[in-house]
Amino acid sequence: MSIDTPEEKVIETPSGEAATETPVLTEVLPELPTVIDEQDLIIETRNLSKRYGRLQAINNLTLQVPRGAIYGFVGPNGAGKTSTMRILTTLMKPSSGEAYINGHSVVSAPREVRRSIGYMPDFFGVYEDMKVWEYLDFFAACYEIPEAQRPGLINDLLELVDLAHRRDDMVDKLSRGMKQRLCLARTLAHDPQVLILDEPASGLDPRARIEIRELLIELAKMGKTIFFSSHILADVNEICTHIGIIEAGQMVAQGPIKAMRQQLMPHRVLIITLLGRLDDAKEALLHVEGVQGIVDLPPEEGKTRIKVEFTGEDLRMSEMLQALTSKGIPVVNFAEESSDLEAVFMKATKGIVS
């Protein structure tokens, strides 16, 4: 097996010249190699339940993750995300129901399941008395990678998570973010098809979080299915192809992120910052199809801001921008409200709070 290290971060500009500067990380969007087949489920649970004594932690959960998806599993604290993942990773038995990874039952074929998954727990430790390369070598050996292949594999993995320069450092001396990346490299040792990551970005600073996010996109491009839990909706919003919202052990809603947004949030919200000509702008926008309403926002640094509610596809946004610029209205910022998913989340989980 081999893990393709990401190509140089070379951005092909439309004119054909390559720009080598680092891309603006937050703007990297997943370009998945293939269209996701919604019927081809790589992770599937049926009526999965788990009780701890009298507490019903997971209640008839039906989870469906298609092959190749980046699936964000979100839910409030104690919703049952970690419990679900521990069942999927064969660490815990469900009280009832079934769970399959790549067609293998987590209860009756744990070894096949382990071969298919790479797991990063929410909290994990590293061995104190090991060097970075020894750490990866150890886990590669645990995954039955032949000794002769390991040095090359370790170099590839370290390259991938950008830790090649720390190869001979002691593992416990790494920073939190580096440990997180090292653990991610570890989950890739046996080239699994599915990555199950429990809050991969928790406890990281914004920079490290973006690095992890970028790495996940890179892995998805390699064809891996990524199933991860998160509280940070911005992460989910920006990289996921699919999302599942869990609350009190039950799946509130799941599906492709676009469909979810439309289903739960018929209105999309756009924030536009202008240097002036507010009334012209409103006039122009109201003529665009799909626009439902315009609200004035308090000005920021002297600039006028408005909030536009609209329905429909991204095409509407482009039409709005065109309507403004064609009239020469000075737009300085034009963006869909990023807390959009937060609203989806709040809306979906409202009322079921236990």
Partner: protein
Amino acid sequence: METPASRSRIQLNPLRPLLRNPVALKELRGRMRGPRAFVVLTCYLMVVGGFTTLLYIAGTAATYSTSGEVDGGTLGRVLFGSVVAIELFLVTFITPAFTAGSISGEHESQTYDLLRTTLLPERQLVFGKLFSALAYVLLLLLAAIPLQSIAFLFGGVDIEEVLISLLVLLATAIFLGTVGVYYSALTHRTLRANIMTYVTILTVILITTAGAVIALAVAEGLNPSTSSTGSEWFLLIVRGIFVCLNPLTTLLATQQYLVNQQTLFTFQYTFSNGTTTTLPSPWIVFTILYLVLSVVVFFLTTRHLKRIEG
């Protein structure tokens, strides 16, 4: 790059297949890194060496006073026996300390789940932990052989005795190590695993010693004229099992038969009606018993680890 020659040379290394076990390799690397391994070895040798010196001084004084001349054979035997006894004591306390944290420690450092989701078979995990701990204990035992061998200078001790004592010490270490790993797998706390292991060891020592003493007393209390060979056999076997479940009594009994009957592998037992029978020497029974028990405990441990938490 490895040349074919260097590769075949590497494969001659007898440790090679064992180091294929990732856990064994990792543990040995960790154990040998830094000053700890060296410090433990030094302290161990200092304790054993210090006691030997003290015994030598006391022993020469004692043998002088009785005969006016140093009795080399007795002094050698006493020195040898004492070194083995000290080693036994140290092995009894060091081995559990090395193994009782082996699996609970993975829970405590939150690395167990990572390990568990790999393809590493449970038996390899247990074997790797056990092997790395025992390899170090073996190193301690081998390092003390020169001290045991001081007895050779005085005569009265054969090389076979050194080897038998080593075997008994090693079998003890293997069994205690397995028990340590077992409790370490059973509980997620190293402290609790340590306590459980030591309590088990002390119980075994107390019960076997008491059992051997009681069986001996009962046998001596039997009236030779009325007792049957059958009941004598029964008591003999009960006593034998107790003796052979305790490394200290095993060593003492083996030594006694060696001195009295000059045999290493068997001994003669004479019943009160005058008939004799030949039985295997205690160290053989002990070694077999301890190795069988170790295998049983090993399988209990892997069985426990295979269970998926409910």
